[in-house]
């Protein structure tokens, strides 16, 4: 009975915390939308953030996408050899990379490289009174700090996912040739066989959704940081956990919503 009570209490607390964060994120999104629609976000800030996010993350995105393509191709080749026509490997690699691995692996790279940095950066600004300083100078931190990061995320994430998809596919194709001797034409034949143009749109749609939730969660967590250096550490860890869970939940929601 006591265990059940503790469990229910824990669930209740979790629900309250989740609702609290969801409300905060909703308000932040609304304020960013208003600032953006009123043209009050500096384009230069958006471009700076986009360059920082995009160019800075590209090498790691390339590495993860190459490895995703190669591993998918190797595992498919191992399972299909001797049982299924090998050209089907093209379809498996294309679908896995475009529908799943490209967007999700890119999102994980952005969580680690961009999301954690945003939370730590804004959290440090919060605990060192720089956010208060901005307010005291008549500047709105949502407009100056949050909006450029969100807009940059929305612009850059689909681009990175597009690149990750192409590179992953190419890496998978090369790996298929080296590993199981599948020619490029056969691979592409298989890839085209079960291809739907919607798949690429789906992939980029998913990327855009990730491009919203990573900067918005990291910004929200950063701006509500309290308690000095320790608080920044706690906020960054919590932010990364929230971002990973959100990406995975969203990833699970996408197929029933958009693939049926």
């Amino acid at each position: 009975m006591a265990l059940l009570q503790r469990l229910l209490r824990g669930l209740g607390r979790g629900a309250v915390v989740t609702a609290h964060h969801a409300g905060g994120i909703g308000i932040l999104l609304w304020r960013i939308a208003v600032a953006t629609l009123r043209g009050r976000v500096a384009l230069r800030d958006v471009v700076d953030q986009a360059v920082e996010m995009g160019v800075g993350s590209l090498p790691l995105v390339l590495v993860t996408s190459v490895l995703s393509g190669v591993v998918t191709s190797q595992q498919g080749g191992y399972q299909f050899t001797g049982s299924i026509p090998l050209y089907v490997l093209g379809s498996v690699v294309a679908s896995s990379v475009v529908l799943e691995l490209g967007p999700v692996m890119t999102a994980f790279v952005l969580i680690g490289r961009v999301g954690a940095r945003i939370t730590a950066e804004l959290g440090t600004m919060q605990v060192s009174e720089q956010i208060d300083a901005l307010l005291s100078l008549g500047r709105d931190p949502v407009r100056v700090l949050a909006a450029p990061r969100l807009l940059a995320g929305i612009l850059v994430t689909p681009l990175l996912v597009g690149i990750a998809n192409c590179v992953g596919l190419f890496a998978g194709m090369v790996a298929a040739r080296l590993d199981v001797g599948l020619g490029y034409e056969s691979f592409l034949y298989g890839a085209r066989l079960f291809w739907h143009n919607w798949d690429m749109f789906y992939s980029l749609l998913k990327a855009t959704a990730f491009g919203v939730i990573i900067p918005i969660i990291s910004t929200h967590m950063g701006l509500r940081t309290r308690g000095g250096a320790e608080g920044v550490g706690r906020a960054t860890t919590a932010s990364v956990v929230f971002m990973i869970i959100s990406v995975l939940v969203l990833d699970a929601l996408f197929p029933p919503l958009f693939l049926n």
């Binding site: 009174e129 208060d132 300083a133 307010l135 005291s136 100078l137 008549g138 500047r139 709105d140």
Partner: protein, 256 residues
């Protein structure tokens, strides 16, 4: 004029418990008191960096808490705020940090040479050589220089009110005297209304028209420096002279 009317604020425990205070235009008021009694919290309520749980703050008769976001931004522009650790933006050099003190519209419309002139003028006013510091990042400055850059940022927009949150904390005696002198000069030359939250009693008594002592979330004393020095209140005495402070500290340590 700044008026605090029955201001209450709690963070888990009560911090401010009904503060009433009026700071006249052009006056310099120093606020002293033990650590954790809500001096900085009260200062932050002035421009709604912290919202009081109860009560109100008025600047020139206008209630800060009920102002629209746009009006609040305009009211904040009338106020220069000097933060305890300067709160300079780490990624920006001194020029960019100080120029942020100018209203956004002016920053967009003024020629860069005019912005530079005003930034340099502010830096010179706080005894910093623009040629030496303008392109430096905050991390490349000493603590005293950072405080003075923070002060330059607060005055570059020519505010009518200046709020200082422990402007000399962590500074050596020479830098403390320099910053105290600057506060006095700025108050005299610019005729601004100033509130200085400080632990530096000597400085407070020298530069203020009035001294307020906040204790356990309430104002325990408000009066001139002379009245402060001659007060019989034991808490005020503990702040006013070192011997009384040492006796009070001994009493606290001896308590079981």
């Amino acid at each position: 004029m700044i008026e605090y009317e029955d201001v209450w604020k709690a963070f888990d425990v009560p911090v401010l418990t009904g503060v009433n205070l009026r700071v006249e235009t052009g006056e310099t008021l120093s606020m002293v008191g033990p650590s954790g009694t809500g001096k900085s919290v009260l200062l932050k309520t002035t421009i709604e960096l912290i919202t009081p749980d109860r009560g109100s703050v008025r600047i020139d008769g206008e209630t800060v808490g009920t102002a629209s976001p746009r009006r609040l931004q305009e009211m904040r522009r009338k106020v220069g705020y000097v933060f305890q650790y300067a709160a300079l933006f780490d990624s920006m050099n001194v020029f960019d940090n100080v120029s942020l003190g100018l209203p956004e519209q002016e920053l967009k419309t003024l020629p860069r040479s005019e912005v530079l002139r005003r930034v340099c003028q502010s830096l010179e006013e706080v005894n910093l050589d623009p040629a030496l510091v303008l392109t430096k990042l905050p991390a490349e400055l000493s603590g005293g220089m950072r405080k003075r850059v923070g002060l330059a940022r607060a005055i570059v927009g020519e505010p009518e009110i200046l709020l200082y949150d422990e402007p000399v904390t962590g500074l050596d005696p020479v830098n403390t005297a320099t910053v105290d002198r600057l506060i006095l000069d700025i108050a005299e030359h610019r005729n601004v209304t100033s509130i200085v939250v400080t632990h530096d009693i000597e400085g407070a008594l020298q530069l203020s028209d009035r001294v307020a002592l906040l204790d356990h979330g309430k104002l325990r004393f408000v009066g001139t420096p002379e009245e402060f020095r001659s007060s019989d209140d034991p808490v005020v005495r503990a702040f006013a002279d070192r011997e009384a402070a040492a006796a009070a500290a001994l009493k606290i340590m001896e308590e079981p």
